[in-house]
């Protein structure tokens, strides 16, 4: 399995933390929109997240169109755990060296 990039991990983690809309993910990760959206599309293509449209009624109540939300899939949860392990190990290595 290919290892996730830092950007992908950040986005995936943000979704796992409950930020499920594109712009909210941008806000929470601090990454630019031109980075987050391609990352979302890639994660969806690779099966780590799944997207759906929110309930029309709720959007209507708030006077705006329905938004697309993202959820982490089972494969995404595994990939996130792997990546977290890896980056933690890497951080450990860097500390030893320094």
């Amino acid at each position: 399995m290919r290892r996730l990039s830092i950007t992908a991990v950040s986005v995936l983690q943000a979704i796992a933390n409950g930020f499920e809309y594109g712009f909210d993910i941008i806000d929470t990760t601090g990454l630019p929109s031109g980075t987050v959206y391609p990352a979302l599309s890639r994660l969806e293509r690779d099966g780590y997240v799944r997207s759906a449209w929110e309930n029309d009624a709720r959007a209507h109540r708030e006077g705006r169109p329905a938004r697309r939300n993202y959820r982490v899939t089972a494969a995404g949860v595994r990939a996130l755990a792997d990546a977290r392990d890896y980056y933690q190990k890497l951080a450990g290595l860097t500390r030893v060296k320094a």
């Binding site: 809309y21 594109g22 712009f23 941008i26 630019p32 929109s33 031109g34 980075t35 987050v36 959206y37 391609p38 599309s41 890639r42 293509r45 959007a59 209507h60 708030e62 006077g63 705006r64 169109p65 329905a66 938004r67 697309r68």
Partner: protein
């Protein structure tokens, strides 16, 4: 749902609308919806609307581009590659020819680039190599020239006063006879002050390097050895550190072994301390023989360092006007000092080989176009089935990419083979670092970039054009077809051929100029007869040959013995062998008994050579006046000298040189006598520094009177190398501890002297020849196609009574038209690009009329030859069959 449409939101929508077409059609609706929803969501919260929202919506552009790219990549990989591969396999002839041409073009580019990288680009093997510099002592006349040696007192002053370098070190290249362990061997190395290794920043593999403590007068006799010498002569034994070896008759303790690959100066294998005595520092301000290297302090630029050094040099000039007047200093990086001279030549070759690739690409583009004709139907069907133009373009592009990738891989194979050849050229060419030529990751990356560029170059135009075929074919079906598209395509092909021819002309002119220059260069009389002369160097160790008489007698007895060997005609010896690049210039101090003023001394400096009596006979240097040295010109007899014609003309323009006498400002004689004497002969000029450099005013001293310890022995005999072993044995017999080194024939030396121009000429010639062949093939292809397209027209003409001759003329005129258009553009380009070869030319102007005319005539003839077959085919058209055929 209505969202208040603010100014900002409208700007965001424009951006979305701009990006939307890039998104793959099946995803566009959802994409649009998502972005709209997010923007609207923010817009409803007033605090988030505004410029930041516009900035954020710009991400939609990147998102759209990514989606398109992702889709494209997938499809390209899966579909187009498979399709391209199938099409290519169906027509293997086309694929093979294209791949081979591309492989040659890409391979040649990679090979030349690998040489450029080795010589000019790859970092030198030292920490922070850009801070490493040579400091040269120069003059007002050429203040920035690299390579000027410094005198010991100047070096010490530079070292103490500068503020730009962490350290300065001095060294001179030297060689030492290693004796006492097996066969005596002369080891190239350097005598250097201890700071050298600190500056270079390379630690020893075993033991230690030289350091500043080694500079002290009276210090221990130590040496550091190189990895090659260590493994070759000492079996890679680490316990060698601390042992003593005999070097030039002196016992030296080895204190360190340097790691593999360390050789500074290039090819050095041995380093011993340079110790400057008080006496040297007091008396040698005019003796320039030290190379000075340093490491720039952090943040100090080359210009600042040069400014600092020139400040010091000016102070020294004021303090020591006699020796330091008009002196300057120059600071060059190692790279510049080492290879500054070959940079233009290498870039010229890189440019030329780039041109070859351009021609290759044009030719391949032409092949692709020709092939496209056969695919009109296929394109029409694909268009009819709904393939967009973009899709068709992509298909052809992928095909070119596939071809270029295979071509690139094959080209890399060609380059690996060629790089080995280039590295092996180093010895003869004497281009520093050329032996480091190899294919490394950077070179591979270069190949990849070149391959992709080639794919785009030879794919784009035909791709666009081919895709038009689909629409064209449909149009033809609709309106019966007038063939306008065909004419357009023919025009495109003709344009490609003209481009190709023009580039070929530029290369041809370049090759022609280098060829003529090379012919000039090799036709210059060097002033010596190189045929059948074997040379080698010997160096007498100071410990056992400390007395001048001992050295004179050794050399004289050795030469007598050598001359008596079977097959030997004569044997001589000289300090400062022609073409060996020995510079030893000394100013005159007295002339006919009169002491010369400082200014007169500056104007009258002579290249000093020290020769034995039979040297002139051995190299067949005629004496135009007077006599050669004889056995009676020995120590104790009156000092005599021979001057060359240039010196005689310079010193005594209107009278004979014979009988005049002078001395030089160097105490080479017995008991410190100045070198010089009475002129007894005038020798014909010799171009000591190769054909490009006219003979310098030269004085020959008699070796018996000024017995220097290091000479080149020259032996004239029959077949060169068969003499060598007996000669080596003779030297061994005289003194087993005197090794012979720099063993070469004079013919080799002469060939090496023109090796660089020869290789440049051959390479450019090869490139030009390739270019011409490809251009001729291109012209042939266009004409052949034109004739086949016009078979019906030619048939009608013939049926209506046109003569075969006029048909032939028609085809030939077309060929001439293409060639003349290419020639006109090419000659113009060549005139503009003449500067690229200017530095490499000798005795030929970059605008040389003969070259231009020859190229023009030659190319026209080639174009006509290329039109021969198509013209014959046109003339052979049978009108009846041609008409029926249609």
């Amino acid at each position: 749902v209505t969202v208040p449409r603010t100014r900002w939101l409208r700007a965001c929508e424009w951006i979305l609308a701009g990006a939307a077409p890039v998104v793959p059609a099946d995803m566009r609706r959802d994409w649009m919806r998502e972005w709209h929803a997010e923007l609207a969501h923010r817009a409803t919260r007033q605090s988030h609307a505004g410029l930041p929202l516009v900035v954020r919506s710009c991400g939609a552009l990147a998102h759209a581009a990514w989606l398109r790219w992702d889709r494209w990549r997938l499809e390209m990989l899966l579909q187009d590659v498979r399709y391209a591969a199938r099409t290519l396999i169906r027509k293997p002839g086309f694929a093979v020819i294209t791949v081979l041409t591309l492989a040659l073009g890409i391979g040649a580019n990679t090979a030349i680039f690998s040489a450029v990288r080795a010589v000019l680009l790859r970092p030198l093997p030292f920490p922070q190599p850009d801070a490493l510099v040579f400091v040269s002592s120069t003059t007002v006349a050429a203040p920035t020239r690299a390579g000027g040696a410094a005198s010991p007192p100047d070096f010490v002053d530079w070292r103490q006063q500068n503020r730009s370098f962490t350290e300065l070190a001095a060294l001179y290249a030297s060689s030492y006879a290693l004796t006492g362990v097996g066969t005596a061997e002369q080891i190239p190395g350097a005598t250097a002050t201890g700071g050298l290794f600190n500056i270079l920043g390379v630690p020893a593999l075993y033991g230690r390097t030289l350091d500043l403590s080694d500079d002290a007068i009276g210090g221990a006799d130590v040496a550091v050895i190189g990895h090659g010498l260590w493994s070759r002569r000492f079996g890679s034994d680490p316990s060698i550190v601390g042992r003593t070896v005999m070097l030039d008759g002196v016992e030296r303790r080895i204190v360190g072994v340097m790691p593999r690959g360390f050789a500074f100066p290039l090819e050095s294998e041995l380093w011993v301390p340079l110790r400057l005595s008080e006496r040297e520092l007091a008396t040698q301000r005019g003796a320039h023989y030290l190379e000075v290297v340093g490491r720039l302090k952090d943040g100090v630029s080359l210009e600042q360092a040069a400014g600092d050094m020139n400040g010091i040099v000016r102070q020294l000039a004021a303090a020591y006007p006699r020796t330091n007047r008009d002196k300057r200093a120059a600071v060059h990086t190692f790279r510049d000092a080492l290879v500054g001279d070959v940079r233009p030549a290498l870039f010229m070759l890189l440019g030329a080989v780039g041109f070859v690739l351009l021609i290759v690409c044009v030719n391949v583009a032409n092949l692709v176009l020709t092939r496209a004709l056969g695919r009109t139907r296929e394109m029409a069907i694909r268009t009819a089935l709904g393939a967009g133009r973009f899709r068709l373009v992509r298909g052809v592009l992928v095909e070119s990419l596939l071809l270029a990738t295979i071509g690139g891989v094959a080209g890399l194979g060609v380059a690996i083979w060629a790089a080995r050849g280039i590295a092996a050229l180093q010895r003869g060419l004497d281009i520093p670092l050329l032996d480091q030529t190899r294919i490394d990751p950077v070179v591979i990356a270069f190949t990849a970039v070149v391959s992709i560029a080639a794919a785009l170059l030879c794919g784009t135009l035909p791709a666009w054009h081919t895709s038009a075929l689909g629409q064209l074919a449909q149009r033809i079906r609709a309106d019966g077809g007038t063939g306008t598209g065909d004419r357009k395509r023919h025009r495109l092909r003709a344009t490609l051929i003209v481009t190709e021819t023009a580039v070929a002309v530029v290369l041809l002119v370049g090759a022609g100029l280098l060829l003529r220059s090379f012919m000039r260069l090799t036709s210059v009389e060097l002033g010596i007869d190189t045929a059948g002369v074997q040379t080698f160097n010997i160096s007498l160790p100071e410990t056992r040959y400390s007395q001048p008489m001992q050295r004179a007698e050794f050399v004289s007895a050795l030469l007598d013995d050598l001359a008596r060997q079977p097959g030997v005609d004569s044997a001589g010896a000289i300090f400062g062998l022609p073409l060996s690049n020995t510079r030893y210039t000394i100013s005159m101090s007295t002339l006919d008994g009169r002491r010369l003023s400082d200014e007169e001394q500056d104007r009258r400096s002579l290249q000093v050579r020290v020769a034995t009596p039979d040297y002139f006979r051995t190299l067949r240097i005629p004496l135009v006046q007077g006599r050669p040295f004889t056995a009676s010109d020995r120590l104790g007899a009156p000092y005599v000298v021979i001057v060359n014609e240039t010196a005689a003309k310079m010193l005594w323009p209107s009278e004979s040189a014979l009988g005049h006498q002078f001395t030089l400002g160097t105490r080479m004689g017995q008991e410190g006598a100045n070198a010089g004497g009475v002129v007894v002969g005038v020798a014909r000029d010799v171009r000591d520094f190769g054909a490009r450099v006219p003979a310098r005013p030269t004085v020959y001293l008699a070796h018996a009177q000024f017995p220097v310890d290091s000479v080149a022995v020259t032996v004239r005999g029959g077949a060169g190398s068969s003499l060598l072993e007996p000669l080596r044995a003779v030297v061994q017999r005289h003194d087993a501890d005197v090794p012979i080194f720099r063993v070469r024939t004079m013919e080799q030396l002469a060939a090496d002297a023109v090796a660089q121009p020869r290789v440049y000429m051959l390479l450019l010639g090869l490139f030009a020849a390739t270019a011409v062949v490809l251009a001729a093939l291109g012209i042939y292809g266009v004409l052949a196609h034109a004739v086949s397209q016009r078979t019906r027209e030619i048939g009608i003409r013939l049926a209506l009574g046109a003569g075969r001759y006029s048909v032939v003329t028609m085809v030939v005129r077309q060929a001439a038209g293409l060639a003349i258009a290419g020639l006109t553009i090419g000659l113009g380009l060549a005139l503009a690009a003449g500067g690229a070869v200017q530095n490499l030319l000798f005795g030929v102007e970059p605008t040389d009329t003969t070259t231009y005319l020859s190229v023009a005539v030659g190319l026209l003839l080639i174009a006509l030859a290329a039109s021969y077959v198509p013209a014959r085919r046109a003339a052979g058209v049978d009108p009846v069959r041609a008409l029926r055929y249609d």
